[in-house]
């Protein structure tokens, strides 16, 4: 009797679960076209901006979108998300590669199955993706270097906080050196430190760097994570204000950094344009998914997309820039 009761309870729960999941109204079923975006660190402000652009662009042609991918930095989970969207039959996929090589198989399978796929923000160049939409890291680094050179001139003595070995960061650093040299040929990059992408680590290595190299007057954060740690390091050595202040140039559009720029904690921040990445990613996918009279020469079987990558550019945001206020209200999904 007890067993029967338990079975009835389980049956009821099962039916409720199935009914709830099965009855969720989803626009995807009603729409003609549905596109997917796959990210790592799902939920981060940066990728929320990218998805907002993707979604807004889709709305203009009454297409629907969905965001997939892991909340952590696991490219294999992204690969699985790409496979799932392909099996679901979406019209196109935009993916940012948590690791360039890991995504190759899934991207190539998607292309083979006739589903247009492109990369945005982080590329997978060995794959057969249609194109890459994102920041050209060399150009962005050049802009950052030029901004530092224009502010401090030949007196600029720069310490760089980075993660070694990543192509994107290496290109940024090369661009930074060239940009700095273009306006301040006697400025110097004193040293680089490995912050391992970790905030606390960034604080400790940057503190050590400032203690060992008191001539450093600028910390260039070559990626998004270390800025808060780098600023804390300037406080630790008593150089967060006054004449000896160390200027921290961040690389992030996260709210704490933007607020820090407004408060004067940071000299500025290198702002990429994820919203435009999303908008452009959608339009390229849409174009690839709609064949015209003549077949694409570069990607037979798909609609026309440029063969060259699209650089969405950066802007150096400093205190008082109206863009900061706009970026301080990021979209949520």
């Amino acid at each position: 009797m007890n067993s029967l009761k338990r079975m009835l309870t389980i049956t009821t729960i099962s039916l409720v679960v199935a009914t709830v999941i099965g009855s969720v109204p989803v626009k995807a079923q009603d729409a003609e076209e549905h596109y997917g975006m796959v990210v790592f660190l799902r939920g981060s402000e940066f990728f929320n901006w990218a998805y907002a652009g993707f979604q807004d662009a889709a709305k203009t042609v009454k297409a629907t979108t969905e965001l997939q991918g892991p909340a952590d930095w696991d490219a294999s989970a992204e690969a699985r998300a790409v496979d799932q969207l392909g099996a679901k039959g979406v019209k196109g996929i935009a993916v940012t590669a948590g690791d360039a090589d890991t995504l190759v198989t899934s991207i190539d399978s998607s292309i083979k199955a006739g589903v247009p796929i492109l990369t945005f923000d982080s590329d997978s160049p060995k794959s057969k993706r249609l194109l890459f939409v994102g920041t050209n890291n060399y150009n962005a680094g050049f802009t950052a270097g030029k901004a530092v050179g224009e502010k401090l001139g030949d007196k600029a003595r720069v310490g760089v906080s980075l993660i070694p070995g990543l192509d994107s960061i290496t290109h940024r650093l090369e661009g930074f050196k060239a940009g700095l040299a273009s306006v301040a040929p006697n400025a110097k990059i004193v040293t680089t430190v490995n912050d391992e992408g970790d905030l606390q680590k960034a604080e400790s290595v940057n503190t050590a760097m400032l203690q060992a190299n008191p001539d450093i007057n600028v910390i260039f954060c070559a990626h998004g994570n270390p800025a808060t740690g780098a600023y804390s390091a300037t406080r630790n050595v008593g150089r967060d204000q006054g004449e000896n202040k160390v200027n921290v140039l961040a690389w992030s559009i996260d709210a704490p950094i933007l607020q820090g720029v407004e408060y004067g904690d940071y000299f500025g921040t290198v702002a990429q344009n994820p919203y435009m990445m999303g908008v452009q990613a959608f339009w390229q996918l849409w174009s690839a998914a709609h064949k015209t009279q003549f077949d694409s020469m570069t990607n037979p079987g798909f609609g026309h997309v440029p063969a060259a990558d699209i650089d969405t550019g950066v802007k150096i945001l400093i205190k008082g820039d109206p863009t900061i206020q706009a970026l301080l209200t990021p979209p949520k999904f």
């Binding site: 389980i10 099962s14 969720v24 696991d74 490219a75």
Partner: protein, 340 residues
């Protein structure tokens, strides 16, 4: 345990499995009815591949949990196997088979070290395996400089991307491993000892079970299975990366717990774990197919894990009560017989 007592436990376990299978099918068909696309061959394959590596980890985890232990290091062993195999093949230029054998031996040694440290220092396995998780993650990062390693040969890629009898190699491996390990757990004396150890380590030791030896072997088995999963994952993705399999240990533990194993040890089966793995794969796929905000996926997983653990606890208490009632009725019967 008497026959009647065994029947009480067996019945509740069977009901638990039927319930889980029923919920899984209800979700599967519910989503198919609501959205379509769920039962297409392409989606079913994607669904199976989505949890297959965590599934292989969960098989090893089942044995560990059965004897009252836990192995948090499997995810970093998984990534370590990817990286070591890749380094041996691509950087050292070794052929595939020796590379795989060396990798599996290295993983087995890591498992043996886990087991050895747990036995030697009598420290909770949570601490030892967490230490191993963090250490190996650091090693994985350090030896790769955070970069992926790629450039495998086609014959190696077959291990992750190839098919035999229409089934992907990792899925086939998972099915065969589940079948073999399931049969061994159900019938082989060595593996039956795990239930004994999980039910009470001291009692098992006093009964002549070599608890230390069993523990070291099981942690070795768990790490070796993680190594197998890592080797196939690198072939699947065509790259080895330190970030692969991040948090896979938690998914493996969740699959085992949802599959009805007692997280404190003493009960659970490979069949239950396979059901747990299928359930997690179906739920995850249902979120993608239905385009519901995927943030809710973790919420559902977490809730299901809580429900499974609480249900398991509830069933254990009921079993204890049922066994006590049986004992009491036996005593009363004996007393009644003596009176007459």
């Amino acid at each position: 345990m008497s026959k009647a007592q065994r029947n009480v436990t067996k019945n509740t376990t069977v009901i638990q499995y039927i319930g889980l299978a029923f919920v899984t099918f209800a979700v599967l068909f519910g989503v198919q009815l609501g959205f379509g696309n769920m039962l297409t061959p392409a989606n079913l394959e994607v669904m199976a591949m989505n949890m297959v590596f965590e599934g292989i980890l969960a098989l090893g985890m089942t044995f560990v949990i059965l004897m009252g232990g836990i192995d948090l290091s499997v995810a970093s062993v998984f990534a370590f196997a990817e990286i070591l195999g890749a380094k041996l093949m691509i950087e050292a230029g070794l052929p595939i088979i020796p590379s795989i054998l060396i990798t599996l031996i290295a993983c087995a040694l890591i498992g043996a070290l886990n087991g050895g440290l747990i036995v030697l220092f009598r420290v909770h396995p949570l601490i030892i395996t967490m230490g191993m998780l963090l250490t190996l993650r650091g090693v994985n990062l350090a030896i790769t400089d955070g970069k992926a390693i790629s450039g495998f040969t086609e014959s190696y890629l077959f291990l992750g991307q190839g098919k035999i009898l229409g089934l992907s190699v990792p899925i086939l491996f998972f099915l065969i491993a589940a079948l073999v390990l399931g049969v061994l757990l159900a019938h082989h004396r060595f593996f039956r000892q795990l239930y004994f150890i999980g039910g009470g380590e001291r009692a098992a030791a006093l009964s002549g079970v070599n608890v230390n030896r069993v523990k070291i072997i099981i942690y070795t088995l768990s790490a070796t299975l993680a190594g197998c999963a890592g080797i196939m994952a690198a072939a699947r993705y065509g790259a080895a990366h330190w970030g692969h399999g991040n948090l896979a240990e938690l998914k493996a533990i969740a699959a085992v717990a949802i599959g009805g194993a007692n997280i404190n040890g003493g009960s659970g089966t490979i069949g239950g774990t396979v059901l747990g793995v299928i359930f997690l794969a179906v739920i995850h796929n249902a979120f993608v197919t239905s385009a519901v905000n995927p943030f809710w996926y973790d919420v559902v997983n977490g809730l299901m894990l809580l429900v499974a653990v609480l249900l398991s606890r509830f069933i254990t208490l009921r079993n204890v009560r049922a066994v006590l009632t049986l004992k009491q009725s036996k005593i009363e019967n004996i007393e009644a017989t003596q009176r007459t």
